[in-house]
Amino acid sequence: MSVRRILVAVDDSEGAARAVRFVASVAGPLGAEVLAVHALGLLAEIGDRPVPAQTHRAEVAAMLEEWASPLAAAGVAYRCLLVDGNPVQALLSAAEQEAADVVVVGKRARAGVPGIQLGSTSQQLVQHAPIPVVVVPEAG
């Protein structure tokens, strides 16, 4: 298969930053376009407290651009996309609508809770995504 479009999940975490750096290093050689996607929940972390996400869309969009800036620095063709929803559902929906060939996420330090579908976005994506998922580990 050819990889023409890479979806990378971005947020304020170190795991997401690793994922962006990884994608920035491989997208050029692959000749792939990158979609940097952030899932907008009910609340957004701006400063040191949660604020209503809907009324702070512009600030979150600006943060998204900043999180994706390593892609610009690497000279990669990319777009930023804000998608409403929980991370897993939003990323799967964006991957389908944008016809992405692969999803890249960073592995977060936080463990999931057994029995509850939560915690590990990467685990759930691996379980549910119809396309390949790359999980960038902490040492990546």
Binding site: V83, G85, G115, G119
Partner: protein, 342 residues
């Protein structure tokens, strides 16, 4: 009489300063009853916890066990929006139990209408996943208890956010008609007009996504022209309302433009969907501006109890007519199916 469930004194789901889904919401909702002059009509329901058997009609046992253990261990972030603390499990059991008690109270003819002011809210909670401030799907648990007895349940969800959890739980269930009006685009990203139900329940999910700025007259138009014909075909024996008040124009989490007076108009229409008195339970979901919540709850319940309390004029003139037309095409003109009463 107006049956009222929910007791702020038992609420131990306090996830910290700055979170909009906070304990004073219940007090504000209950204050709305007083402000609407309904005090003498109120019968308080005895608090009770939902049993494992009742919850398991919706939530699988491993999910319930994991959530209980997570809370007992002190809790933490369940997703970027949803937080649990040690007291969350018991508070969630009481919230689900309050809706069950409301249904039982109505069934015993103790009142004409029931209102449950309990939290955490429920309509985003999936069978095996908490999300959007929700841990247990309170309305779904009550609806499932009714369908287990052979009832046909209409769930009207006028929270500004789509009730993805309730929709998913009853997606393929011919005994539940799920109707949602919500802002679009907005969290949780579901609720497109094309989402109309599974193969076992075609047309029994009705989504009316509305643009930011939509006013009350648009929602009333949607209920009159889109929802009423579907409800008539479905012939519900019960009506449960997922009553979020975050569609109010003052709410900080969204951008619809309703007023408290609009909720009186919506409530009057929804009551008419029930087969008669004593079959309508209104359950608090979202709503994060405390003044708007108080006034809107008061207006809702006054309307349902034939009272006259409209602290704000109804709103009109906002966008959304095209969205209602789209839903009309899907559900009425094209007729995407829909179970009729057996």
């Amino acid at each position: 009489m107006l049956l009222v469930g929910g007791d702020p004194a038992l609420d131990r789901h306090d996830v910290g300063a700055g979170h909009p889904e906070r304990p004073p919401r219940v007090e504000a909702a209950l204050a709305g009853i007083e402000e609407a002059g309904l005090r003498d009509a109120v019968v308080h329901l005895e608090p009770r916890r939902a049993s494992e058997e009742e919850l398991m009609r919706v939530h699988p046992a491993p999910y319930l066990e994991a959530l209980r253990a997570f809370c007992e261990a002190g809790g933490g972030n369940l997703d970027p929006d949803t937080v649990a603390v040690a007291g969350s499990w018991d508070t969630a059991l009481l919230a689900a139990g309050a809706v069950l008690a409301a249904v039982d109270g109505l069934e015993q003819r103790a009142g004409e209408v029931a209102f449950v002011a309990a939290r955490p809210p429920g309509h985003h909670a999936l069978a095996d996943q908490p999300m959007g401030f929700c841990l247990l799907n309170n309305v779904a648990v009550a609806a499932a208890s009714l369908t287990a007895r052979g009832e046909r349940v209409l769930v009207v969800d006028w929270d500004v956010h789509h009730g993805n959890g309730t929709q998913a739980i009853f997606w393929d269930d011919p005994a539940v008609l799920y109707v949602s009006t919500h802002e679009w685009p907005l969290y949780p990203g579901t609720g497109r007009v094309e989402e109309t139900g599974g193969p076992g329940a075609p047309g029994l999910t009705v989504n009316i996504p509305l643009p930011a700025g939509a006013t009350g007259n648009v929602l009333c138009h949607a209920l009159d022209d889109v929802v009423a014909p579907v409800v008539e075909r479905f012939a519900p024996t019960w009506v449960l309302v997922s009553a979020g008040y975050d569609a109010h124009r003052a709410d900080p989490l969204a951008d619809l433009a309703l007023t408290a007076g609009d909720f009186a108009d919506l409530a009057r229409r929804v009551r008419a969907f029930a087969p008669g008195p004593g079959r309508t339970a209104v359950v608090l979901e979202g709503g994060y501006d405390l003044d708007a919540l108080r006034r809107s709850v008061g207006a809702t319940l006054a309307s349902l109890m034939d009272g006259d309390y409209r602290p704000e004029h109804p709103s009109s003139g906002g966008p959304g007519a095209a969205a209602v037309e789209a839903a009309l095409r899907v559900h009425v003109h094209d007729g995407c199916g829909g179970e009729t009463a057996r």
